[in-house]
Amino acid sequence: MLTTDTRQVEQWRELTSAVAGADAVERDALLTDRAKATRREIIKMIDKAGQGHIGGDLSVTDILTVLYNAVLRIDPATPDLEGRDRFILSKGHCAAALYVTLASAGYFPASALSTFMDADSALNGHPNRNKVPGVETNTGPLGHGLPVAVGQALAAKLAGNGARVFAVMGDGEMQEGSNWEALMTAAHYGLDNLTAIVDRNRLQQGARTEDTSSLDPLDEKLLAFGFELRSVDGHDYDQLLGAFAPSSTGKPVAVIANTIKGKGVSFIEDRVEWHHKVPSAEQVALAMEELA
């Protein structure tokens, strides 16, 4: 098990309080910086490991950046703090983006990031809660995160501790039936402390999502399943912050975060072949320039 990096936790505290106190322009600048640094680190990790789900990592980065620096009530120095908000990355193949986000909050030393997928590393290709503080449940097989998040939201209701629960699913992942079972349970129990986020980048492993097994009209489906719906640009911090505000209807919240797979790197953006692909040395350099 990795352990807290207290100096990094201090820096994260400074950042989150600066974000909280800033006006919209300053806040955007702070979050943009953070997200760019995260994207650069993701590319480095995938380059070194020789594998990784680069497209989905870059797609979900802004969502993670907003949640971990402006929304979640957590204390990285006390990962198992009672009554904390919970986050589950259901699309667990995007572990790299989560690892960088957790390290920058101080859950563990950033030096561990370079061991991504090495023999005996804690940083497996999919998040493991037994090895990595801040990971709330093991994911990897798609369609597991939301049911666990529903259980955590129920637990928060039972305990009456006011904790909120957030889960991010891929849009391809929404093809798994387990998600729709979980949506029904969440609505049935009126889990207004639950936010189900769909990273709607419109690509999955082999093709565009709408060409594989179409999801649209996703908004109408989520509404029909009893959710309060928020459809936003998943790279716009202002819109994401609005989307992550507490429920105003007493219903669970569904966020359709319209994103671009590979966001931030021109030659990766919206290209299906970059679901799982490693950039060449020249491409790494180019990506670093674009993310500078």
Partner: protein
Amino acid sequence: MSREVASSTTVAEYDNRTAFAEELVELARTDERIVAVCNDSVGSSNLGAFKSEFPDRLINVGIAEQNMVGVGAGLASAGYIPFVCAAGPFLTGRALEQVKADVAYSQHNVILCGMSPGMAYGELGPTHHSVEDLSWLRALPGLDIVVPADRHQTRLAVRQAVENPRPTYIRVGRFKVPDVSSDSSGLERGTFQTVRDGSDVTLIGTGTTVSRALEAADALAESGLSVRVLNAAYLAPLDIDAITAAAGQTRAIVTAEEANVAGGLGAAVASVVSQLPAGSRPPVRILGLSEFAPTGNTAWLLDHFGLTAAHIRDAAEDALSDG
């Protein structure tokens, strides 16, 4: 990729998915009953060529494995021969009840193709390792389980599944392995192949461990032992005769599998041996996994879990000293 063997020569190794995909396309040209069903895994199941040649006969249900197996059962019930392809853990684990109720119990002739099984997805971790598939599926009556050890056997497994369709699981390896058979040496339903005959000790491998057992046999032969090597190409129906013969004719048995030992090849062999009369129950050593894997690549994990030729040799020597 090639692996150093004891003699420090290198041997060619192959990804069985290539043989699988080529054979499937070849057969589909003359047999219109053949369809492929997958879960967003056209690339990882090597179905790209099948898709371009037979776009209508490739059914991609998206990331929905339970649905995928049910759809396969429906197609089979209407006379098609569906090859239902997905990464092993999601096909067998995620859809286990569909495999039980819709395929094995209903006797719908679905060919379940568990791609990249064992620890082929090394660094992606235990969620992506298909090491429980053999134990899970062995519990289902009426389901054949084929574990081809090389590219020739993979082709034969596909052909036999078409010639005589029945509910079948084929474990289609991604980790590159050397040939252990020749094109003509065959694959017979319900039999372990004798890869090498011997009278002191029997080594039984399945899939990726067969070539390792052969290497171990070479090492043991150097110390003057006569070694029998069996390839457990079929785990169901189980070759009780081959196990009984090995128990009667050799002094120890070692099994090795890229799978969990609870309910897999070793457990199958041990349960047959345990029922033999006293005097023909030699010691059995079972090599495999019994815990979730740490992070690491496939080759490293196979070493980590004691599945190298050296481990198999040591287990044989240990069992012989016990017998």
